[in-house]
Symmetry: C2
Subunit: 513 residues, 2 copies
């Protein structure tokens, strides 16, 4: 055991993981080495890429025990691909695979069975939800799950930490040579931002589509030069499923109050000027802030140079009203956004590396003026948990949380002071996803705390009527209502390893008792 | 010395070049190894990429003696960048550089001085023209020039045969973080198809622009994630210069006759059906063929699925008239094409690897129905020379000639039987760029020859009034007019190495006497 920079206990060695480097600050790690280069392949003029079935694709790629397979999560709860492919793999008797999905959702509960059967023995993902998450928190897997942020996953792939043997990528529109996009076809999902990276680095790339279109299907999000095989199936996903619970519009008065305070902070911060940029996150309060910002923009007659992130219909509306110059979209959060990427020239698909990879020549998060993020817990060091619930069980995703917090000029958490009888502001979060030194402001319905590292923001807010407190004061407020929360009981067994975006380990998740 | 498959003498070793593999057939070479991965770099949130001058960029990249620098040729005779950068390099006293340009033109004659001074000691390029070409043919350089096709250069870069230390890339539109395109700004050149590859693989990428625009300049042809530095200068190129002599429209009756025969062959070949694809090349006769094809398409009421290549206004016109579904553009040959790439959604920029790299998962040339190509010479083995003139001096470019010939279902050469008093059809071409086994039809003003390997085409043409001859008959016809051409006298010294697209050596160019 060792302690990392933020005082978290990190094991020296974890089964199924290479060298463990403890987190040491958001920009402390200096990655050496080269970008991963996969094997050179050749497709000759008369070669066909079309295969009859998933089974044939599994055979042709040479998938075998011990390899790594990857998937994207652009269909979210509407995804048919992952279950379809792993069913086929299991039937063929292949075992001991590493699953390197960009994320996993409730819809992937059948993985529990395949983990028990030894088909899947390691997982890396941004998040876990539902039955699968419960089971893993209760010790289902021998190897801990590796939780990676979206930027961190892109980094891990580009730097060769994740080596994908076969990527199985569902694409809503594809020609017979592999030019594909996400915005045409009955199963459209919009951006293919995560899938683009898998297509570039996996040793074998299999596209699975329910919408084969004439060649050349260009401009393409995934290019023929990256694709080995194509399989046509009945249906790859349900577009209705791409609207995750995360993107709901709030009528909750507490969330609206949080949003109002947040908007005031942004206003006072000086970042809301013509040409500003933002990411608004997908929580209820975060989405409500964007509505206040929009009002403010109209009043001040200013325009955003770009909005970033998981993109919602709300941002599309602002673009179409001329309030936003460009939308940079790594994933489309709802159907309106998914459609817009086809129709609006300034709504641009970006891949996960361009979005948030800390080890390229500059990702877009570096240029963010501010980001509005949710939290399950924030502690008095400003560390944020978005992965484990108040019972210690995994129920969320790392997403772009730590990426945008590190990149943006001002990173803001919006959260209620308490949820039910559970405080949100605590002494020590259960699991750290985002280190406090990259969090600038915490906005709750009972007041706002600014990280003492940001005296400039404290100064700017001092002449406003925003209720400012220290983070300790907020914590005390919360505890005065809820009482001191009971400690969650964990075993000593590590079931999850939380990687910071730079590849260091910022925290571990332990098995719940 | 050894003989390659087409009987050309290839040296066993050449100064400044690695292992020499003789050409052994268009698909014989099986490249192993991995895609090249350059060093991982990081740009942090507050880092600036803007530099004051070319000199500062040279310093910051750490360019030093013995390194490799790269440039693109999208401005053709209007290019200001290469001279500007090498002037600065020379002034700083850096020597012994390898120049890895996508191509070189008359405008780069000042290189002669820098070669003499030892600033540039090796060159790889698609072509050479003018004074520089003359001097090199006369023995200017100690190391032979490596001639690579456009697809071959992309392959060499992706496979790590060309390792570029610094790419200096002129871009007509760029933001301060490196998102760039070729179609906006006073110096617009259209597609940046060759530059895109350099940006992805060079260790250091410097963009030079005369048109700095607000962030984010997306969609981008070159992405911020690939760019280290940006320098703003007065002017990067003259758009008038991008119309090379190669794209003239012909009124020459001989060329029109060739075009007429070529159109008849295409018609009879069975490839001119709805959904066909073509590349038309840039010679006078080749362009004239396209006009006949257009007429035929209108009459038959058919549409092309795509046209490929160096793109001319003529193809844009066909697209705008609804005759062509997609234009795939690796370089824009004239201003109309350069503008269209901005205005027409179906006019898509493609990079050189997607265009023609034989060692990726399938480049577009693989999907071509037919290609129309020029020739300086064709021999009775159907080998084609597009690089050395009748005096043996370098005066052309490899371009996409051998790439498209290998990929297309039917590759057709259009050329006059004789030029002045010089025969075009000869016993043995001076230099082989494209091997005869990938050439299907040769069309001259005096008749057409079909490669005996293509009995299917011979069969199809047999019931037409097209004047068909054997290639020997065409050669004899030519010689009956011109007499047997005098042999060009060369020394034994190799001044150029002609690489086939797969990295093998198909021929050498010797110093003229």
């Amino acid at each position: 055991m060792m302690l990392n920079k933020i005082g978290r206990e990190i094991p020296n060695k974890v089964q199924g993981f290479g060298e463990i480097k403890p987190y040491n600050g958001p920009f402390a790690e200096v990655k050496m080495g080269n970008v991963y280069g996969r094997k050179v392949k050749r497709v000759k003029p008369n070669d066909s890429k079309m295969l009859e079935s998933i089974e044939e694709a599994i055979k042709k790629t040479g998938l075998k025990d011990g390899m790594t397979i990857s998937f994207h999560h652009h269909f979210r709860e509407g995804d048919y691909i992952l279950n379809m492919v792993i069913d086929a793999i299991a039937k063929m008797g292949i075992k001991n695979l590493t699953l390197a999905s960009s994320s996993l959702n409730n819809v992937h509960a059948s993985l529990v069975k395949y983990i028990k059967d030894g088909v899947i023995t390691s997982i890396t993902t941004s998040g876990l939800r539902g039955t699968l998450a419960d089971e893993i928190s209760n010790g289902l897997m021998e190897n801990p799950v590796i939780i990676r942020s979206h930027g961190g996953r892109a980094r891990a792939i580009e730097c060769g930490d994740i080596k994908m043997d076969v990527a199985f990528l569902g694409v809503p529109s594809c020609d017979n040579y592999g030019n594909a996009n996400g915005y045409n076809g009955k199963s459209f999902c919009g951006s293919l931002g995560y899938a683009k990276i898998d297509a570039k680095y996996a040793e074998n790339v299999v596209l699975i589509t329910d919408n084969l279109v004439p060649y050349p299907n260009v401009p393409a999000s995934i290019s023929q030069t990256d694709v080995d095989y194509i399989v046509q199936v009945e249906a790859i996903g349900n577009p209705q499923g791409i609207v995750s619970g995360a993107t709901r519009y709030t009528k909750n008065p507490k969330e609206l109050l949080i949003a109002k305070y947040a908007a005031k902070v942004i206003e006072a911060s000086g970042y809301l000027v013509d040409g500003f940029s933002m990411q608004t996150g997908s929580g209820g309060a975060a989405l409500a802030v964007a509505r206040f910002i929009k009002q403010s923009m109209i009043e001040k007659n200013i325009k955003a140079s770009f909005v970033l992130g998981g993109v919602t219909g709300q941002l599309v509306e602002m673009y179409e009203e001329g309030l936003v110059d460009k939308i940079l979209d790594v994933q489309s959060f709802d159907l309106r956004a998914a459609k817009s990427i086809k129709d609006n020239l300034g709504h641009c698909e970006i891949d996960a590396s361009l979005y948030a990879n800390p080890f390229n020549r500059g990702s877009v998060v570096n240029l963010l003026d501010f980001v509005i993020l949710s939290a399950l817990e924030v502690d008095t060091d400003f560390n944020v948990n978005v992965i484990t619930g108040s019972d210690g069980v995994i129920r969320g995703a790392s997403g772009g949380h730590c990426d945008t917090a590190a990149g943006a000029k001002m990173s803001m958490i919006v959260c209620p002071l308490i949820r039910g009888r559970i405080p949100t502001i605590v002494d020590k979060v259960t699991t750290v996803i985002t280190p406090g030194e990259t969090i600038d402001v915490v906005v709750t319905d009972r007041g706002v705390a600014v990280n003492p590292l940001r005296q400039d923001i404290i100064q700017k807010l001092s002449n406003t009527n925003i209720p400012i407190f220290t983070i300790e004061e907020l914590k005390n407020k919360a505890e005065s209502i809820t009482g001191k929360p009971e400690k969650i009981e964990f075993t000593d067994r590590v079931v999850g390893l939380v990687e910071y975006r730079d590849g260091t380990i910022i925290d571990v998740i332990k098995q719940v008792k």
